[in-house]
Symmetry: C2
Subunit: 426 residues, 2 copies
C-alpha cells in the first residue's frame, strides 16, 4: 500500500519532470532569438534596398545567407525536439505557436523574391518581417507563460521582455532609416518613433527587474547602456529629432543611422546570448537541487520506520471555518524530522512557489488583456486583428490612456458590445 | 524536417494527453467523496456517543466499519494510480495533498480508540474529523484547480463546491446535534449555525451555476431541494431557532435532528454520485472528440501536398504595435481549408479555452486569497494556522465584511505587517 511518504516522493519526481520539460522549452529560446536577430537585420537592409539604396544590394544578399543559416539552426532545434505528448509542459499552446511561426518561415522565400525584384513597397516588407518576428516571439512568450518554477519564470519573463525591447529597437532602426532615406520625417512617424523609444524603455525596465539572477547578462547590459549614452546613437537621435521641426532629414545619413542602431542592437544580442546561457544554467541547477533532495527523501523512504509519523490532529482549538481550509501549519526544524513535518514543509513550499509564480506571471498579463480585448472586438464587431488593434490604439491616444487600460475597459463593457447578427444566408 | 502541420498534430496530441491526465485525476474524486461521506457520518455518531448517548454505541461501531470500507476503496484507487512523472497534471501539488490526507487516515485508528474510550471531548473529535475531511477535500480542490479543459473544469468546480456545501451541512448536523444533546444553544453557537446555513447556500449556488452540463445531478438536486422544503429538516430548524430565545433545546430531539439532517445529506450523496459519473462521462466524451479530430488531421498530414498553405503575410496594413502582438486573425470556413487556416483556428480555439478556463478558475481564487492571507499572518505574526484564521474571521465579523475582503486587505497591507524579529538566541 502506498504511504504518504511514497506520494511525497512522487510529488518531488513530478517537480523534477516539470523542470526537465521547462529546460527543453528553454533550449528553444536561444535559436529563436538568433533567428529573430538575423530577421531584424534583413528587415533593415531590405528597407534600405527598397528605399532605393542600390549600394545595399550586396549587403542584403549576404544577410539573407546569414538569416538562412539561423533559420536552419532553429529548424534543427525543432527537429530534435521530442514532441511526443508529456515531454513539454503546455505543449498544446507552444506547438501551435511553433506551427504558426513555421508557416511564416515557409512564406519567407516568396517575400525575399518580391523584395529583390522590388515588387513590394518598403512598408509592406517591414510589416511582413514584423509579423514573422512577432510569431517567433510568441513562442518565447508561451515558454515564459508555462514555467512552473518561479526562478526560471523570472528569467524567461526577463528574456521575453528583452527580446521585445530589442525588437522595438529594430523597429526604430527600420522606421527611422526609411524616413532618412526618403529625406522626410512627418508628424505621424515622429510620434510613432517617440512611442517606440518609450516602449523600449518600459521593456528594458522589466528586464532589469526580473533578470537579477542573470549576473552576466545584467553586467553586459549595464556596460552597453553606459557606452550607448556616449556613442553615436544619441547624437543621431538628437540630429533627427532636431530636423523634425522642418520635417527634413539628410538622406545621406541613412547609412550612419543604420550603423549606429545596429551597433547597439548587436550589443543587445550579446546580452541576449548571456541571458540564454544563464537560463539553461539555472534550469540545470534547479534540476540538480531537486534530484539531491529527492535522493535524500528516497533514503528516508527506505528507512521509513525510523521516521516518526508526527501528530496529525491538532491539539489546539481549531477555528470554525466557513470553508474547510487547506490546513497549513507553521514549519519549524523540529517538525521536519517527522513524516508529517516533511509533508507540511512540501505543501508550504509549493504554496509559496505558486504565489511567487502568480506574481511573476502577472507581468505577462497586460499582453493577455490586450489580446483578449482584440479578440472581443474581432468577434463582436467583425474586425480584422489589425483593425481591432488600431481601434484600441487610437482610443488610447485620443483619451490619453494606456493601451492596457483601454483594453480593460473594453473587456468590462463586453456585454454592451452586442455581436453583429450574422448576415442572412442569401 | 517537421512541418507546421506536424506541430499542429503534436499540439492536438498534447491536448489529448492532458485530457487523459485529467480523467485519471477525476477518477479519484468519487472514492474521495465516498470516504468524506462516511467520515461525516462517523463524526456525527461520535459526537452523539461522546455527548453521553450510550444507545449510539452500536451505530457508531457499524459506521466505523463502513468508513473503513470506504477508506480501503480510496486507498485502492490511490494504489492503482500510476504515479510515475507526467501521468497526472499538476502532480506535485496533487500528490502533496494526497500525502497529507494519508497521514490523516493513518492517524484515524488512534482517534477512534480515544473516542470509544471517551478519552476526548466531542469538541476535539469534531475538529479532528473536520481536519481530515478538509484534507480530503483539498485533493478535490487541487484536481479542480489543475483542469486544462473549461468544460471539465466547470464540472470539477461544481463538484468541489457541492462537496464543500455538503461538508458544511455535515458541520451543521454535528454542531446542532451537540447543542441538542446538552440541551443548550448559546449565542455563539446560534451565530455559527446561521453562518453555516448561509455558507451552504453560497456553495450550492456555485454548484448550480457550474453544473449546467451535469443534467442528472442537477435534476436530482432540484428534486432534493423541493422535498427538503416540505420535509422534517425545516421544521427541526424552526423548532431549534425558536428555542434559541430561551437558549433551551429539547435534548430528547437530538436523534430526530440527526436523522432529519442525515436524510438530506444522504440525498446530497446521491447527487454527488451522479455528478461524479457525469464528470467521467464528460472526460471520455472530450477525449473521443479530440481523438477524432486528431485522426482527421493526421489524414491531412499524409496528404499535405493537397492542402494549400494559405497566405501568411497579411496584405492589409498592419497597425504599429507597442508590443509585438500575438497575431490572431479572424477565422472563417474558407481559411480553415488551408494549413495556415488550421493553425489559426487551433490558436484561436486555445486562446478562447484559456480565457474561459481563467474565468472558471477565478471561482477558486477566493479560497486562495484567504489561504495566502493566513500564510502571511502565520509568517509575520508567528501565528498558528488556527489563530490566523480566527484573526481573519473575527476582523470580518467586527467590520461586517466578507472573509475574502479582509484577506485582500491583509495582502494589500503586507508591507506594513513587519515580520516579528527572531527571538534572541538566549
Amino acid at each position: 500500500m502506498k504511504s504518504g511518504m511514497a506520494f511525497l516522493v512522487a510529488a518531488r519526481q513530478c517537480e523534477i519532470h516539470e523542470l526537465q520539460q521547462l529546460m527543453r522549452t528553454s533550449a528553444l529560446v536561444r535559436p529563436a532569438g538568433e533567428c529573430v536577430h538575423e530577421l531584424q537585420r534583413e528587415r533593415g537592409l531590405s528597407n534600405l534596398w527598397l528605399g532605393g539604396g542600390n549600394d545595399f544590394g550586396r549587403g542584403l544578399e549576404l544577410q539573407v545567407e546569414r538569416t538562412r543559416r539561423s533559420e536552419s539552426a532553429l529548424r534543427a532545434a525543432l527537429e530534435e525536439l521530442d514532441t511526443s505528448a508529456g515531454r513539454i509542459g503546455n505543449g498544446a499552446r507552444l506547438y501551435s505557436r511553433i506551427a504558426y511561426a513555421l508557416q511564416g518561415l515557409d512564406a519567407l522565400p516568396a517575400l525575399r523574391a518580391d523584395v529583390a525584384a522590388r515588387r513590394v513597397a518598403a512598408d509592406f516588407s517591414t510589416r511582413a518581417f514584423m509579423q514573422l518576428i512577432a510569431a517567433l516571439l510568441a513562442v518565447v512568450f508561451e515558454a515564459a507563460d508555462s514555467a512552473t518554477d518561479p526562478g526560471i519564470s523570472r528569467c524567461l519573463v526577463a528574456m521575453f521582455h528583452f527580446l521585445q525591447g530589442k525588437e522595438l529597437a529594430g523597429q526604430e532602426r527600420a522606421t527611422v532609416a526609411a524616413a532618412f532615406t526618403c529625406g522626410r520625417l512627418d508628424a505621424a512617424t515622429l510620434q510613432h518613433w517617440l512611442h517606440l523609444v518609450d516602449s523600449q524603455d518600459r521593456c528594458f525596465a522589466v528586464f532589469v527587474e526580473f533578470a537579477t539572477d542573470a549576473v552576466n547578462a545584467m553586467a553586459q547590459w549595464r556596460t552597453l547602456e553606459s557606452s550607448t549614452r556616449t556613442g553615436a546613437l544619441p547624437r543621431m537621435r538628437a540630429l533627427a529629432l532636431a530636423a523634425a521641426a522642418d520635417s527634413q532629414l539628410p538622406s545621406a545619413r541613412s547609412r550612419d543611422w543604420f550603423e549606429a542602431c545596429t551597433q547597439r542592437i548587436d550589443g543587445m544580442h550579446e546580452v541576449e546570448r548571456a541571458l540564454a546561457a544563464e537560463l539553461l544554467t539555472l534550469c540545470r541547477t534547479r534540476i540538480a537541487e531537486a534530484e539531491a533532495d529527492l535522493a535524500a527523501r528516497q533514503a528516508l523512504l527506505d528507512d521509513v520506520a525510523g521516521v516518526p509519523a508526527g501528530t496529525f490532529f491538532d491539539a489546539e482549538p481549531a477555528p470554525r471555518t466557513d470553508t474547510a481550509a487547506l490546513v497549513t501549519v507553521p514549519i519549524g526544524p523540529q517538525l521536519e524530522r517527522s513524516v508529517l513535518g516533511m509533508v507540511q514543509e512540501q505543501s508550504h513550499r509549493l504554496q509559496a512557489m505558486g504565489d511567487e509564480l502568480e506574481a511573476v506571471r502577472a507581468t505577462l498579463s497586460e499582453r493577455k488583456v490586450v489580446e483578449r480585448a482584440k479578440g472581443l472586438l474581432m468577434a463582436h464587431r467583425r474586425l480584422s486583428e489589425a483593425e481591432a488593434h488600431r481601434m484600441l490604439r487610437e482610443t488610447a491616444m485620443n483619451q490619453n490612456r494606456r493601451l492596457v487600460d483601454v483594453a480593460e475597459s473594453v473587456l468590462a463593457m463586453s456585454d454592451l458590445l452586442a455581436p453583429v447578427p450574422p448576415a442572412p444566408m442569401r
